[in-house]
């Protein structure tokens, strides 16, 4: 087939290039620009090379934040994924209650992040919060502003409350796509409940679960608003995750250079993990698609 060569067609792509340029490339390049320069104010900049990157890689502060972040994401995934699957398995398959559960499950997903943070901030307060007050009355020494364990527990429970629905809804969609014949065949083969889960439900959910895990990982890895509203990163630095630390550095201390280097590395870590997930997922698809 003869293809018509028409270089003018490039003009059709131009609007997208401009849009992406202004919304992504240029801001990112500004960050890159800051990351290799230093300033003493007055808009005077000096070339700093890779110093900031070296600094940040040696900075205990960043490694601690990264460590906390990984622990947080790990705990979130370890709770939300099994819990979401469990909820999905126990949701009604059809009828009024199925719709009811779906609406109920989506509610937390619709609440803005800082509202979620505010809700839990108040909910956990010892003086007026329902949770904090009740715990105090029951004799439990709970205070998320002073106790590290309590702060972590509050932030984790809050995230579980906010986002388990997402995993559950995705898992539910996966479950709904399994034809009845599979369950019938399993009954005839006398498979136990566990085997039905292990050999029918889990393999059929694998695709959506990968997406759920990816979404939950990315989201929890970038979490900012909710812990910021509830604990402000405290007590001390106990709940200072990467984003919170980054904002403190960039806006609180106005250390633009290190913050820029930090955010670039942050970005690369996320990119790397996304790539790994993407590769794993497409390989799963390939196995399916033969």
């Amino acid at each position: 087939m003869n293809k018509t060569v028409n270089q003018k067609a490039w003009f059709l792509v131009l609007p997208v290039l401009i849009l992406v340029g202004f919304s992504a490339v240029i801001p990112l390049m500004t960050v890159v620009n800051y990351s290799v320069q230093d300033t003493f104010g007055n808009n005077v900049f000096f070339w700093a090379g890779l110093d900031w990157f070296r600094d940040m890689l040696e900075s205990e502060r960043m490694w601690n934040a990264l460590g906390r972040q990984l622990v947080f994401s790990g705990i979130i995934l370890a709770i939300e994924v099994p819990l979401g699957i469990f909820v999905a398995l126990n949701m009604p398959k059809k009828g009024f209650w199925a719709s009811f559960c779906l609406v109920l499950m989506s509610l937390p997903l619709l609440i803005p992040w800082n509202v979620v943070g505010t809700i839990w901030q108040i909910f956990g307060r010892v003086d007026i919060g329902l949770l904090g007050y009740t715990l105090a009355k029951l004799g439990v020494n709970y205070n998320y502003t002073q106790n590290v364990i309590d702060a972590w527990a509050t932030v984790i429970v809050m995230d579980v409350w906010h986002w388990t629905s997402l995993v559950a809804l995705l898992a539910y969609a996966g479950l709904q796509s399994i034809p009845d014949a599979y369950y019938q065949a399993a009954k005839i083969d006398q498979a136990s409940r566990w085997k039905v889960f292990r050999f029918i439900e889990l393999p059929k959910m694998a695709g959506v679960l990968m997406i759920a895990i990816l979404l939950r990982f990315m989201d929890s890895f970038m979490i900012y608003t909710e812990p910021f509203v509830v604990t402000g990163g405290g007590p001390g630095n106990a709940t200072t995750f990467l984003s919170i630390d980054l904002v403190k550095m960039a806006l609180g201390q106005f250390d633009l250079g290190p913050a820029a280097a930090f955010s670039l590395m942050y970005f690369l870590v996320i990119l790397l993990i996304s790539w790994v997930f993407y590769t794993v997922m497409t390989n799963l698809d390939k196995r399916d698609g033969v």
Binding site: Q184, A185, I188, S192, P203
Partner: protein
């Protein structure tokens, strides 16, 4: 192995069925004789699969009982009934190997590993997948997957019955023939009670000892292929079985003759007066064509040569009809009359066959 009895069985998918149409399966009494091969034949949506799922226990009937060797199992779960069932679309456990798939029903029942290996090997040989036992089931073609499903259905030797729900729909034609032959062989060797649901008459007639024809939620006839051919109990059977199906003509019947559009047609038997909408049915194989003489006026619209025989499409008094001529027989020149073999004519009142010599009623 067991005799399966359906006692006043009926099923509706609605909670409160009102009219007759609400019943997916109308009241039914039947014994499935131990060790026979049955085909359940009917068009889509006639209740075949419903009946099958009731027998296997996947569905609880709204009314009536189901008995295995006289024991009421209406409320017994599927596992307790010890039945094997193969579904229309392949069900395989993707993450398991082919061999593990075949072994699954036996493993779940805690069978001896040596016995399992033995059975898996013989079933694999039967479905022609010996060399793929180690392969993962994921990514196999649909017919390979269906062969695994079939194999999984047959791996247990002690089942009460083997149920097949249109299992060969997704299989290639040449493989279809082979698998069907193997199923027959299996039936011959082990004598399982087999119920085979299909909408393909060739499949039904070649597979089964007895064919159960269903129409609109009702069993309209149970019989050997020959009975279905010679004495269809319902016009649907006449029409559905045979290619082309039975010719039907509005008629008035009295004694040993029928009158079709003013022409007298001799019958093979004597009939008591018949009420209702009366039709006579005659298979194309028993329609004779000739020029002039006795019989109904007819016009040939088309002749189709299908190899073994010729199908002559006719127009008889405003309705279409068919005749079959042997390959060697030429279409008579100037043929404008049809007559029928008197012995091969069946009389129907309101769709149901009338037995000769009796008053109106359903045929035995």
């Amino acid at each position: 192995m067991a005799k399966i009895t359906l006692d006043n069985l009926a099923h509706s998918y609605l909670k409160h069925p009102k009219s007759d149409d609400d019943w997916a399966l109308k009241e039914l009494n039947h014994d499935w004789v131990d060790g026979e091969a049955y085909a359940l034949l009917g068009s889509s949506g006639c209740g075949k699969s419903t009946l099958l799922n009731i027998i296997s226990g996947l569905l609880r009937p709204s009314r009536g009982r189901i008995l295995f060797d006289g024991r009421d199992v209406t409320d017994a779960p599927t596992a307790e009934r010890n039945i094997a069932q193969v579904f229309q679309f392949p069900v395989v456990y993707d993450t398991m190997s082919v061999g593990d798939n075949l072994a699954f029903p036996l493993k779940n029942r805690g069978a001896d590993p040596k016995y399992i290996a033995e059975r898996v090997n013989s079933i694999a040989a039967m479905i022609g997948m010996e060399d793929q036992l180690k392969r993962k089931a994921r990514g196999l073609t649909a017919d390979a997957k269906q062969k695994i499903s079939l194999g999984r259905g047959m791996v247990r030797e002690d089942v009460n019955a083997l149920l097949f729900d249109e299992p060969l729909t997704v299989i290639d034609p040449h493989m279809k023939w082979e698998l069907r032959t193997q199923l027959k062989q299996l039936h011959h060797d082990f004598g399982h009670t087999m119920i085979y649901v299909t909408h393909d008459q060739t499949e039904a007639l070649t597979f089964a000892d007895k064919v159960v024809v269903m129409f609109d939620g009702r069993v309209v006839q149970i019989g050997t292929p020959q009975e279905l051919f010679e004495r269809p109990a319902h016009t649907f059977v006449g029409f559905f079985i045979g290619s082309p199906g039975m010719n039907l003509f509005e008629a008035e019947v009295s004694g040993t003759t029928a009158t079709v559009r003013g022409v007298t047609v001799p019958l093979g038997d004597s009939y008591a007066p018949v009420a209702g909408q009366v039709q006579i049915g005659v298979r194309p194989e028993f329609v004779r064509l000739h020029a002039g003489g006795e019989g109904l006026p007819a016009r040939i619209t088309r002749v189709e040569d299908v190899g073994r025989h010729k199908i002559v499409r006719l127009e008889v008094g405003g309705t279409t009809a068919n005749a079959i001529l042997d390959e060697g027989t030429p279409v008579p020149a100037g043929a404008d009359r049809v007559s029928f073999d008197a012995e091969a004519i069946n009389v129907y009142a309101d769709e149901w066959r009338v037995a000769p010599g009796t008053a109106q009623g359903r045929a035995a």
